[in-house]
Symmetry: C2
Subunit: 324 residues, 2 copies
């Protein structure tokens, strides 16, 4: 039996084999042939795990916090996985000098499975890749999947938007830190965490957040709690995890939100697949290269070329133009 076949990998993964899990994740991320069939098999076995998004600016201590939360959850009898999509995270290798080679998976002492994802080069798109990996970890038996990501980029924000619960992490002494987070981040926070709370200025950050929350009249969702932690000593972590479990058992995000999430995933997935196919088709017979040359010489503009291509596809689709 081929131990590297998809079905063998899935079988061993479901039996608890971490190496099989790791390989499965890589192959799905790399969109190796058969990945969709594999995800079809895995999907029905997922749906139990809670996704917790952890976001904030670089240097906010998100990795240490994720580790701490994982430890608390494990102590409470839960199984936990971590996905790190943060370029500045030590998990994802961003802080290693000359990181040509990255450690993709780590297992820490508590048996927490940690998967790092590069922010660029994810073939299915960062967002979809993170969702796929979360589903595999879910099927593997994890109760919680923590997704750690910086809250600055568009894609990164999308990743945590898909989580069941979002923690936004701030720290004292980052001047524009809280401010920088604001655009698009305030709205998605379910819990605010002021980390490194032993540093001077923690009180001000809390007040800052509270006053921003008070100003925000637009939302009808409950005001997110603001909690303090010092992740590297563990201070505040039990309270944070208690709040997190409370919120998970009475989800603030209802049925509409779940539907929205499914809708976005469907369209994202279809779009990515379609672009791959389109690119392939366009690259055939040098058609794309010809277009590039025409634009380079300014004989044509990209907008006209795209429109031509679209109308070709759509007319074909409608059967108006017979296929040549």
């Amino acid at each position: 039996m081929n131990t590297n076949s998809w079905s063998s990998l899935i079988e061993r993964m479901l039996a608890g084999n971490v190496r099989a899990l790791s390989r499965l994740v890589s192959r799905v991320e790399n969109r190796e042939p058969g990945w969709m069939e594999a995800m079809k098999q895995i999907y029905p076995l997922s749906g139990k795990a809670r996704l917790i998004g952890i976001t904030g600016s670089p240097g906010a201590g998100k990795s240490t916090l994720a580790n701490g939360i994982a430890r608390e959850l494990v102590a409470g009898g839960f199984k936990v996985g971590i996905i790190a999509v943060d370029p500045s995270s030590p998990f994802s290798g961003g802080s290693l000098l000359g990181d040509r080679l990255r450690m993709k998976d780590l297992w820490n002492l508590d048996g927490v499975f940690i998967r790092s994802m590069a922010t660029r080069g994810a073939l299915g798109g960062l967002n979809q890749s993170a969702r796929d990996v979360a589903k595999i970890l879910d099927a593997f038996g994890k109760d919680f999947v923590l997704i750690e990501t910086v809250g600055v980029g568009q894609d990164e924000v999308e990743v945590v938007r898909a989580a069941d619960l979002v923690l936004v992490v701030c720290v004292p002494g980052q001047g524009d830190g809280v401010q920088a987070l604001k655009a698009g981040i305030m709205e998605i926070a379910d819990i605010f965490v002021v980390n490194k709370a032993d540093r001077p200025g923690a009180e001000e950050v809390c007040l800052d957040i509270e006053s921003m929350l008070d100003l925000d009249q637009s939302s009808d969702k409950p005001k997110p709690p603001v909690l303090r932690t010092t992740a590297h000593t563990g201070e505040g972590l039990p309270e944070l995890v208690r709040t997190l479990l409370d919120l998970c058992s009475s989800p603030a995000k209802g049925r509409d939100w779940r539907k929205m999430r499914i809708r976005e995933e469907l369209i994202g997935l279809l779009g990515k697949e379609l672009i791959g196919l389109i690119r392939e088709e366009w690259e055939k017979d040098g058609v794309l290269e010809k277009a590039v040359r025409q634009i380079e010489k300014r004989e044509k503009d990209p907008y006209s070329l795209v429109e031509e291509r679209l109308s070709l596809w759509l007319n074909r689709d409608r059967g108006r133009i017979p296929r040549s």
Copy 2:
């Protein structure tokens, strides 16, 4: 004559009317009907401006630097536009408390046109929108378009990757700042700028960058210069702009790079348009909603649904299945 028609806007924009320019940019960004026709008209008039990408972590002083560079260039007789896609930039309103309303355009004292773009909600995608706006500013007559963006997110990096010349901005005292930048940023830098060089630690940051550059054997492009500035006093700006002009007149990025950029733009543009059309088609007659319900009840999985949809489209395309 309808002064709001596309042709009138384009005509007035080309005559130097800044309000028309501003409105045109908004309408293209919002993908209002006719935007593609408008861009087709504008495209042949573009191609002269140099795109300068300015990237770095939040708090690195990118906006002040962009302003300073613009001032220097204007003093040298050039026309300059700035596009700010940085959520932490004061231009894009990220740092204003309660920024529900954002100032979209600003004209500073030097007549520099500054356009801010939200990092989320750009209908054509952040990357494409920035390129469109750059082309309009180009056609308007700008010699240089500075694109300011944080260098952390995936999309944000893509934006500056498309620039003719990329400045990566670092500052002393941001601990993991230089490190955080590394993933994916080192490779795209044409010039490193150590800003706030009057602060302690500037020397270390320069050495840090130099040693990372020395370690990087992978690239065959010339080693990017490392320059020091104190943007708020203007210190170092003349040297920076001189280097920038030098590099622009003897571009390190050759023909292959230009082709790659055109290719990426074509595929991106086509993909975005296609996804819009697909979404529309899928939403018709409640087909998408039905799919969402099926997934919610776990009767189906998203992967199978996307595959079904794709094979429907592609088979249609190949004329195998007659259109119902």
